[in-house]
Point group: C2
Chain length 269, copies 2
C-alpha cells in the first residue's frame, strides 16, 4: 500500500519532523520501495521533489529532511507500485495547472475498470491509474466550470460527485491541493491530527525522535497533518470515515461530505 | 539579463560540470540574484528544482551540483527579474503538459505589448511575460493540432511561426523541451558547443575548474550545450544567428529556420 502525507496550516510551517517519520516508511519501517515525492507550495508556486530511489535511502529526501522549507500546504507520497513501472513519470505527486493555479495530486489505491474518455485537455504522461484519474478530475472541472475558478462551495460539491464516480471503481484515497485548499478523500483509510496551542511534545512512531512542538510555534498556529496511518504516539489522531471527502483550510477542517454510493469494486467495508 | 543553459544528448549525461560554471553566474561572477531553476528529463518524467535564493548561495543548487543526475535533456535558467516579483511562481523554467508529455520553457528577454487572448486552456500562475508567452505557445499548438502530437516537421514549422509573432514584440531568447526535442530560439544571443569524440579537457570561465571530458564519455556520445554566453575557455562555441529557431536532437542540430520578420520592438540589430 502506498503512503500519503499532507500538511495544511494557517502559517508557513516546516514539515521536517513529520517527514522524518514518513521517510522511514519508504524502505526502513515499511516496504514502499518504488519511489517517493513531495510538493511544497510557497504562495502560488510549487517546489516539487521526486525520486525513484526509496525515500529511506534517497539523497534528495535527505535534503528535504535537513532543509526547513516553510510551507502552508504540503503533499507527499511514498509509492508501492501496483500499476505502472517504477519511473519518474509514474512518481506521485502529480502536477497540472487549472484556473491559473497549480494542482497537486497523490493517490493511494487501485481503480478497477475506470476508463472514461479523456478529451485531450489533460493527458497522463506516465501509465498509472492515479495520474489518469487526476487528469480526468481536472478535465471534468474545466468542462463544468470553464476557465474561471467557481468558488469553494461549487468546487467542493463537484469534487464530491467526482469522488463518488471514481471511488465506485476501487480504493481511492487521495490528496488534492491548490496551495490554499487541501482536499482529502478517504476511501479506506486516512487519519489526521489537528495541532494547536498548547502544542505538546510528540514522539515519532517510525524513528526514535521526539520534538517539543511548542518551541517552533506561536499560540495562533493551526497545523493539520493528514496521513495514511498515525505518525506519532502521543497525539490524538482521528480516523476519517471511509467514503468521505474533507476540505482542510488554514489548519482545520471546513467541510466534509459523504461520497459512498455503494460498496466499491474489490472493497469490503 | 537572465542566463539560459540547456543540454541535449544522445545518452544520459550528467551536467554537474557545466552547472558549476552556470551556478556561479547567479550572484558570484554575475549579478543574477533573483532565483534560478533547472529541469532534468528522465525519459518522460521531469525532476525540477526551483529556488528563489541566488544560485551561487543556494543549498538546492549545491545538491544539484554534487548529485550527478544523468539526463538526456536539461533546461536551466538564472533570473534577473524584469517583470514580476521575485517568487517561486515566477521562477523559470516553467512546466506544462501537452499531448501527454511535459514541456519545459525558459526565457531570456522582455516582450513589449504582447497581449494575445488566452482561452483558459493554459493560464499563467505567476505574473511574468515569460510564463504568459509559454502558455500562449502551448495554447496555439493545442488549437492548431488538437490533442495528438503532429510530428516533428509540423511542430517545428508551427513553432517557427509562433516565434516570429512573439519575437516581433522584443527580446525572445528561449529554450523549449519535451524530453526528446529541444528547441532553442535565438533572438539576440545564444551560443552552443557540440561535444563528441575526441573529447577535450575543458576549463570553466566562471570557476577555476578543469575537467577531462574523455574520462566520463564514450566515443559514441554526442552532447550539445546551449548557453547565453560560452561556459568554457578552450572549446569552439558557435553563436546562433539572431532571429533563428534551432532544433536539437540526440546531441546535434537537426533543423534551423529564420524567424525575423522585421526589427523587433526595442531591439537594434
Amino acid at each position: 500500500m502506498c503512503q500519503l502525507l499532507a500538511m495544511n496550516c494557517n502559517t508557513p510551517t516546516d514539515i521536517c519532523f513529520s517527514f522524518t517519520g514518513f521517510q522511514a516508511r519508504g524502505g526502513l519501517t515499511d516496504s514502499h520501495n518504488d519511489g517517493w515525492g513531495i510538493a511544497f507550495f510557497e504562495d502560488r508556486g510549487v517546489r516539487q521533489f521526486l525520486d525513484t530511489a526509496p525515500s529511506a535511502h534517497s539523497k534528495v529526501a535527505e535534503l528535504v529532511r535537513s532543509y526547513p522549507i516553510k510551507s502552508k500546504n504540503v503533499v507527499a507520497h511514498i509509492r508501492k507500485a501496483t500499476q505502472g513501472k517504477v519511473s519518474l513519470e509514474n512518481t506521485h505527486p502529480f502536477m497540472r495547472e487549472l484556473w491559473g493555479r497549480y494542482w497537486i495530486f497523490a493517490h493511494n489505491g487501485t481503480l478497477v475498470d475506470f476508463n472514461p474518455e479523456l478529451d485531450g485537455s489533460y493527458l497522463p504522461v506516465g501509465n498509472t491509474d492515479s495520474e489518469f484519474v487526476f487528469c480526468w478530475i481536472m478535465q471534468e472541472l474545466r468542462k463544468q466550470f470553464g476557465s474561471v475558478f467557481p468558488g469553494t462551495e461549487k468546487l467542493f460539491a463537484a469534487l464530491t460527485e467526482l469522488s463518488k464516480v471514481a471511488g465506485d471503481h476501487g480504493k481511492f484515497n487521495f490528496l488534492l491541493c491548490n496551495g490554499s485548499l487541501l482536499f482529502a478523500h478517504c476511501s479506506t483509510n486516512l487519519t489526521y491530527v489537528l495541532r494547536k496551542a498548547p502544542f505538546p511534545t510528540v514522539q515519532l512512531k517510525d524513528q526514535d525522535v521526539t520534538v517539543d512542538l511548542s518551541a517552533q510555534t506561536t499560540s495562533e498556529d493551526r497545523v493539520a497533518i493528514i496521513a495514511t496511518s498515525p505518525l506519532t504516539h502521543n497525539e490524538v489522531w482521528t480516523d476519517m470515515k471511509p467514503g468521505t471527502l474533507s476540505l482542510f483550510e488554514e489548519g482545520g477542517i471546513s467541510k466534509t461530505a459523504d461520497t459512498v454510493v455503494g460498496v466499491p469494486r474489490g472493497l469490503n467495508y
